[in-house]
């Protein structure tokens, strides 16, 4: 379509179009393959009877895999766990990130270094942060948290067996709070200082300034943080893999971990693919809004 339109125009434009095509071809075609081939395969497998442990069972299954998947209580438990993880981490990181952004925007001694310390967890690889929290912070006998609890005369908590989901949420929130802080701090920098000053002159207190000037200014950045975090948090994996392995029972099995169990531990390719399709659909619901917002920004 586009090519035909180009050809009807001047020769120079066609050459430009060709040049654009050849320059963009590697990136576009590779990304196209990377997206479309696995996607098509996932959808195809999800309609097949395909279990690596039962090679004789093959053939078209129709919606059988989806039927099994949706009647499996594990799926609903995993969906609930996914929602709880995403929801709580979002609440903690967005509320915490906003407050921290306001705090670190203020001038105080060594503010630059304090900022750098506060955003550091975001650069720590997930397996390291999960293990540091598991072994050194939350360990029931030798962890720092149990030592603090004991020093205060409180009973030590066996985090991963009594509060498994909370523990994972704490670890993931610790990793993503700095992300929210980093983005919101950047957004704060474009806050109109004169407007704040004018409001102060008019007798507005810090709380009023926060709710009527700062928060509306951060609205857009906050929604970007929420959408990007949702897409990543939907498929938390490493933190669960190295701490609880989805347990006890199914307590910390989210959608990503359930698919991993079905595919690489139970070898049920058909079921796992059906789960994959569900994950893709969920992520796309969020992605549509995010892409729209980025598009709007491109125009301005």
């Amino acid at each position: 379509m586009g090519l035909i339109m180009n050809k009807t125009r001047t020769a120079g434009r066609t050459v430009g179009g060709l040049r654009t095509l050849s320059l963009q071809a590697p990136a576009v075609s590779l990304l196209f393959l990377w997206m479309i081939v696995p996607l098509a395969m996932t959808v195809w497998f999800s309609l097949q009877r395909y279990n690596l442990l039962m090679p004789e069972m093959t053939g078209f299954a129709g919606l059988e895999n989806y039927e099994y998947l949706f009647t499996d209580p594990a799926l609903w438990s995993a969906m609930g766990t996914t929602l709880l993880m995403v929801g709580w981490v979002l609440v903690i990181t967005v509320v915490g990130g906003t407050l921290l952004a306001v705090l670190f925007q203020q001038e105080f001694f060594g503010q630059g270094i304090a900022r750098v310390l506060a955003i550091s967890p975001f650069f720590v690889m997930p397996t390291v942060s999960a293990l540091v929290w598991k072994n050194m912070m939350m360990h029931p006998a030798n962890g720092v948290l149990s030592w603090v609890a004991e020093s205060l005369g409180l009973p030590a908590v066996d985090w991963f067996s009594s509060l498994p989901l909370t523990s994972i949420i704490i670890i993931v929130a610790w990793q993503w709070l700095p992300f929210a802080l980093l983005i919101l701090l950047t957004a704060m920098q474009s806050l109109d200082e004169d407007q704040v000053e004018a409001a102060r002159m008019d007798g507005a207190g810090p709380i009023a300034i926060f709710f009527f000037i700062t928060l509306p200014h951060l609205k857009r950045a906050i929604s970007v943080v929420i959408m990007i975090e949702m897409i990543f948090l939907l498929t938390i994996f490493a933190e669960i893999f190295v701490t609880t392995s989805g347990g006890p029972g199914l307590a910390t099995t989210n959608l990503a971990y359930l698919i991993y169990i079905q595919a690489l531990l139970d070898f049920d390719i058909g079921m796992a693919s059906a789960g994959g399709v569900v994950a893709i659909i969920l992520a796309n619901i969020v992605a549509i809004f995010l892409v729209r917002m980025v598009a709007k920004n491109l125009e301005s």
Binding site: G2, G16, T20, L23, A27, V28, L30, L31, M35, V37, P38, L39, M41, T42, L103, E107, F108, F109, G110, Q111, A114, R115, A118, S120, P121, F123, V124, M125, P126, T127, V128, S129, L131, N135, M136, N142, W147, W174, I183, R220, V224, T235, F237, A238, F241, V242, L255, A256, A263, I269, A272, S273, G276, I280, A283, N284, L290, V291, V294, L298
Partner: protein, 295 residues
């Protein structure tokens, strides 16, 4: 900001001085309390990392003893981790995979970003957005086919396999960031080069790349950070041969592997370079992580 506000005070009339200095005192006090609060929060957030670094310098016995800041530091754990030659093997995998995939992504992305920034067509915007949308495909949704494709083509547990995955994973962000940096460049300079008879290749090599080097560097660093810390594909697609540090550290999760000091030493070495990269590029990183939606 605050200094600007205090300036008029110093030139205030003598009568107002008393009132002014108490106001100044209150301001100083406020800044002091803000400082205390800010530093407390920052230290609390940083504490797990600090504690890990500290534990790396302890003996195994001291590492599991009651938490204490006072101990005789030792480099034993570092030496031991280094001696188990395999640490270097995993570290080398991380380096090869992270830098290999970054270079490859830059190589593929530069022509594409160049044409988007300097030869935009009607479809440029659509292409950019489409590229971003590929980033939103959850990896777990395509784990099964990628795993099977890799198994059948012998790419499982190879560095090449991981490099391919990471290149494609980061390509949209790299194209996006380069595009924004290229677009910020004044067009006249390229125009002048073209007038002087430079070919497209010369234009890119001798004008565009040197002038946008800081932008390209921070794009590359972000891609290195993302690849270095990636833990979904590395855990699922590698076992021993090509396993990078993320997977190596994960092997410490088994109950019999309770060597906290060694885990800490290995972890400290694994995150130190990336922490520094992250600190250096935090400003430009926002651009890449939010696709330019937050400035």
């Amino acid at each position: 900001m605050t200094t600007a506000r205090t300036k008029p005070l110093s030139s205030a009339e003598p009568g107002q001085l008393a009132q002014g200095s108490s106001w100044l005192g209150a301001l100083r006090n406020r800044r002091l309390w803000l400082g205390v609060l800010g530093w407390t929060v920052a230290c609390l957030i940083f504490f797990p990392i600090f504690w890990m670094v500290l534990t790396g310098f302890k003996t195994e016995a001291a590492a599991v003893a009651d938490p204490s800041l006072i101990f005789s530091p030792t480099l034993d754990s570092y030496a031991e981790v280094q001696n188990r030659a395999n640490y270097l093997h995993f570290a080398l995998n991380s380096v090869v995979v992270a830098f290999g995939s970054t270079l490859l992504a830059l190589l593929i992305a530069i022509p594409s970003a160049y044409s988007m920034a300097f030869l935009p067509t009607k479809r440029t915007k659509g292409t950019l957005l489409w590229m971003l949308s590929t980033k939103m495909l959850p990896p777990v949704g395509v784990l099964v086919p990628i795993y099977l494709l890799f198994r059948d083509t012998g790419l499982l547990d190879t560095r090449t396999g991981l490099i391919i995955v990471y290149t494609l994973m980061n390509l949209p962000i790299v194209v996006w960031m380069l595009y924004t940096f290229f677009k910020d460049m004044p067009k006249d300079i390229l125009e002048a080069g073209r007038m002087d008879g430079a070919s497209t290749l010369q234009e890119v090599l001798y004008l565009l790349l040197p002038l946008t080097l800081p932008g390209i560097a921070s794009t590359g660093l972000l891609a290195v950070i993302l690849s270095w810390n990636e833990a979904f594909w590395s855990l699922n697609l590698t076992s021993s041969q090509a396993a990078p540090l993320t997977a190596y550290i994960a092997s410490f999760s088994s109950p019999e592997g309770l060597f906290w000091a060694k885990l800490s030493a290995a972890s400290t070495m694994a995150i130190a370079p990336i922490l520094v990269f992250g600190w250096l590029t935090q400003k430009q990183m926002v651009r890449g992580l939010t696709f330019g939606a937050v400035k």
